[in-house]
């Protein structure tokens, strides 16, 4: 499918109902990401399934987006490309990995930019548990801020033009890490 951007500028006000639908759509994409990360990280997921889900996860992100990684034992936050982050997640050296996202909410509402793109920030809390055998080898809780871009685009389907909101996730920055 070939998508093209549509010139929807800030002055093209949209109704509160449409805005609400866009807010929900962007929030849903973050929740989808949460599921994908959980599947990719899980040791119960087969290699082929994990790779398929990685491909789907990449479709959620804008090109060149990065994901921050923190640790209780390392001060610096490292940033990886999304693919690299997901590949590392899949290969984590634990017998069992549980990742759960919660308290997913907007900390900065989607606001229209001069080029018509809506930009907002959604914050999430991630609970990570890595087990070796029966032992809980590593556990932390991270607060992450995800930049969200929503742009109006058009494509041709069955000879007609479809207008859609393309939600793209941007960088995921680590705001804080705790035990």
């Amino acid at each position: 499918m070939i998508f093209s951007s549509v010139g929807l500028f800030a002055q093209d006000e949209i109704s509160p109902e449409r805005k609400q639908a866009i807010d929900s759509l962007a929030m849903e994409k973050v929740k989808d990401l949460s599921k994908y990360i959980s599947i990719i990280g899980s040791k119960e997921t087969s290699f082929s399934e994990a790779n398929r889900v990685i491909d789907r996860t990449l479709e959620l992100f804008a090109p060149n987006s990065q994901i921050g990684v923190s640790s209780l034992y390392v001060k610096d936050i490292k940033y990886y490309s999304v693919r690299k982050y997901l590949n590392r997640l899949m290969a984590l050296n634990y017998d069992q990995v549980n990742i759960k996202w919660y308290n997913i909410q907007y900390i900065s509402d989607l606001e229209p930019q001069p080029d018509g793109t809506y930009v907002g920030v959604i914050t999430v809390y991630q609970r990570f548990e890595g087990r070796s055998g029966d032992d809980l080898a590593y556990v932390d809780t991270t607060k992450k801020d995800i930049t969200v871009y929503v742009k109006r685009k058009e494509t041709q389907i069955g000879g007609r033009t479809i207008g859609f909101w393309d939600v793209m996730l941007g960088d995921i920055r680590v705001a804080e890490t705790s035990k």
């Binding site: 499918m1 866009i22 997921t45 069955g158 207008g163 939600v167």
Partner: protein, 225 residues
Amino acid sequence: MRLKEALLKLISLPKLMIILLAMFIALGGTSCKSKKKIAEEKAAIELADKIAQAKAALIDLLRDDNPKTWDEKKAELDKIKAMQLRDPEVEDLINQVEAKLEKERLEILKHEEEAARLKAEQEAKHQQQAQLDNINSHFYAVASAPTVNEANSRIQRAISLYASKDVPVLIIVSTYGDNQKDYDRPTTIFKYLNYLKDIKKYNNEIDQVKYDDYGKIIEIELIKK
């Protein structure tokens, strides 16, 4: 005496017989003529009676609130027509009843056609709903599969409804203005079914489905609940 003899001479027995017979015929003829007249009068009365009854029946048939069925009215009209009463007023009423019955027949036909159309529409709607239920059941089945393997086999079964794995899936996120629609980024049925497998939730409704000549789905439009 002479007169008597002369009279007897003049009127012989055979002549007398002829005279008597003539008198008898003359008297008898008068009686027949009177009976015919009576019969004619009786027939005329009967005819007038029939005409009156026919008129009453025809006027009754012209009533809008006549409770008889169309077939009963038609049978009654045919019965009156068969009487061939040759009365101008009756014939005029027959014409009126015929026109009325024809109008009613056309209305009945129209009603029957409308009822048949509605029935066909209803059946098509039921059939369409059954198809939608079937499509939806596949979505639910994939989303609720207990294992990845089970989800994958359910995906294979669901895919058989579609013309290809690349059939576009459009998801309406909102509608505005003159039935204009905002969509999510379009996807394909194979990706969408895998999405349901991953997310384990199906919370859309089917808005539209397009089929090819073989009854396979070539485009599906969903709407968020």
